[in-house]
């Protein structure tokens, strides 16, 4: 026991705790303000109310159906959009004619702010899962296509010549040269796509609040009912899931790209 308390002590000393000052101070201030009724409790509820709501929600069926539905749409859209993005990015990357034909249109369409597509998508395809997944795919598509294109373009001429000397077929060229060489860039694109897909998932649920279930729908209904603890909890859940996606993306990238060795 003595050893363990010693290691705990060391652990406490070695970590930099200064980062906690801000959030802890914020919560303490918030608690004090609520306790002495300095703020309107309807507008700014006490922290324990949020914890209470969180506890209730964690056992509520609606909450998990909502999260499940959101995650399902998010991951379907991410998968479809990324696959389409890699395909289009590769075509644009290694075919000059494809590049000349479509790059100007692609670059112009890229500048259309993502959410501007939603009114058109919803009036053409309705408010169901399909329409939302299409929208999320679009969000994931652009960063992946763009980065795959750049990755394919960054391949050196010498590498291509080696492949030609070996008499690679087109398929071998893609599998053995272009995909591995472009992989680091593609991962950058996929990471961005994860962020944008989650943004699109939540955004589409907030904008199409009256249709379907999802985390965003729960939050926006909380706003309509002026249930501030629920909104805060929902926001935290959205943020934590987003952070979790970022963490996973970073881990996968580190695992997949071990062969690159330590790069500066």
């Amino acid at each position: 026991m003595a050893i363990s308390s010693n290691t705990v002590f060391q652990f406490i000393r070695q970590r930099d705790w200064r980062g906690l000052v801000l959030p802890v101070g914020f919560i303490v201030l918030w608690s004090i303000a609520s306790f002495f009724d300095w703020v309107n409790p309807k507008l700014i509820p006490a922290p324990y109310k949020v914890v209470e709501t969180a506890w209730q929600q964690l056992f509520a069926e609606d909450f998990f159906t909502g999260i499940g539905a959101s995650l399902f749409r998010n991951l379907s859209g991410f998968t479809i959009g990324s696959l389409a993005g890699i395909t289009v990015g590769l075509f644009l990357g290694f075919s000059q004619w494809f590049d000349r034909l479509f790059s100007p249109s692609f670059n112009a369409l890229k500048q259309i702010s993502l959410f501007a597509w939603l009114p058109i998508i919803s009036s053409w395809f309705g408010y169901d899962n399909g329409a939302k997944i299409l929208f999320i795919s679009l969000a994931a598509f652009y960063p992946v296509a763009l980065n795959t294109f750049e990755g394919a373009r960054s391949i050196g001429l010498t590498q291509l010549e080696v492949a030609k000397v070996y008499g690679f077929t087109r398929f071998q060229l893609i599998r053995k040269l272009i995909l591995p060489a472009a992989a680091p860039q593609i991962f950058v694109g996929l990471q961005l796509a994860l962020i944008y897909a989650w943004l699109a998932t939540i955004g589409s649920e907030l904008l199409l609040a009256n249709w379907g279930v999802g985390l965003g729908n729960i939050v926006i209904r909380g706003r309509e009912a002026f249930n501030v603890p629920l909104i805060i909890f929902g926001m935290l859940a959205i943020g934590l899931i987003g952070t979790f996606f970022n963490w996973i993306a970073a881990r996968i990238e580190a695992k997949f790209l071990v062969w690159r060795g330590n790069q500066a």
């Binding site: 930099d16 200064r18 980062g19 906690l20 000052v21 801000l22 959030p23 507008l43 004619w97 000349r100 034909l101 479509f102 790059s103 100007p104 249109s105 112009a108 369409l109 500048q111 259309i112 702010s113 993502l114 959410f115 501007a116 597509w117 939603l118 009114p119 058109i120 009036s123 053409w124 962020i195 989650w198 943004l199 939540i202 955004g203 907030l206 904008l207 939050v219 926006i220 909380g222 706003r223 002026f226 501030v228 909104i231 805060i232 929902g234 926001m235 959205i238 943020g239 987003g242 952070t243 970022n246």
Partner: protein
């Protein structure tokens, strides 16, 4: 003598005539490349027109190009388009000013001071991973749905990229540059003005460019969600009237403004980069 110089002159004058075929060829090739880029949009436009003439889709779903064109001029004549766009641009300007200012302040603080970094960065790192749209319901409770909400939500989107690239710009300043400053015994202010600012400027500006593009993204979202003016509202309005032509115009105008913003900011960024190159 005179004839010789005159001959030389005429030779110079007609030199471009000799080069003309190759000039024309390179022009034609370039023109050809540009033209292939226009080919695809033209095909889409033709299909669109064809779809209208053959009645493949009802007009409420797919308005003909001519109607979109006509509505575009009607909206300009009535001032609906310009006034809404102006409102949106003002929102962007305020948010870039506020969000960019906050981002610069945080970025400089955590870039220059190790202590500020230790206190602020962990919180910033977590908060910055929350999607911007997730904040909006909470902001609506505190700020209502007026102008304050829009400016706050859009500013939030600007803060993160500006802070991150300001911080990185300062952190990535080569040690050698700072050491030169030490040799010259620069004061803190001189160090900031003559070493840190110029060296970090390209990175800071790239952050501002990203911030503006993020602002444009959140602006459209907020205006679609809760607004009574602005380019996003124009689309909601068109959608409610079942006038898809207005929605189309909204998308096209949003795309055009995006292209212009991107072009201008890239131009300025490139200028900053060339300045930097010539300095070394």
């Amino acid at each position: 003598m005179t004839t010789a110089t005159q001959q030389l002159k005429t030779a110079n004058n007609i030199a471009w005539l000799v080069k003309l075929p190759s000039l024309a060829r390179s022009f034609l090739i370039r023109f050809g490349y540009a033209a292939t880029g226009i080919l695809f949009p033209l095909i889409v436009l033709a299909l669109w027109q064809l779809a209208f003439e053959k009645n493949w889709l009802p007009v409420q779903i797919l308005p003909p190009p001519s109607l979109v064109w006509q509505t575009f001029w009607e909206l300009i004549d009535s001032g609906d388009l310009t006034s809404n766009l102006w409102v949106s641009i003002q929102r962007i300007a305020w948010s870039v000013l506020i969000g960019g200012g906050v981002g610069l302040a945080i970025g400089f603080a955590i870039g220059l001071s190790k202590r500020a970094y230790a206190y602020l960065y962990p919180t910033f790192d977590v908060v910055s991973q929350f999607p911007v749209v997730g904040w909006i319901p909470l902001l609506m409770i505190f700020l209502g749905i007026d102008e304050a909400l829009k400016v706050a939500a859009i500013s939030l989107a600007v803060v993160v990229p500006v802070t991150v690239s300001t911080y990185k710009g300062i952190r990535n300043i080569p040690r050698a540059l700072l050491e030169v400053g030490e040799v010259y015994q620069f004061t803190q202010l001189q160090r900031l003005r003559r070493v840190v600012l110029p060296a970090a400027l390209p990175s800071i500006f790239s952050g501002i460019r990203q911030g503006v593009m993020q602002a444009w993204l959140s602006l459209v979202f907020v205006e679609l969600l809760a607004s009574s003016e602005g380019i996003g509202y124009l689309m909601v309005w068109g959608r409610q009237l079942m006038q898809m032509d207005i929605v189309f115009i909204g998308i096209i105008v949003i795309g055009l403004v995006g292209v212009v913003l991107d072009f201008v900011l890239r131009f300025i960024e490139a200028r900053l980069q060339t300045w930097r190159r010539s300095a070394f």
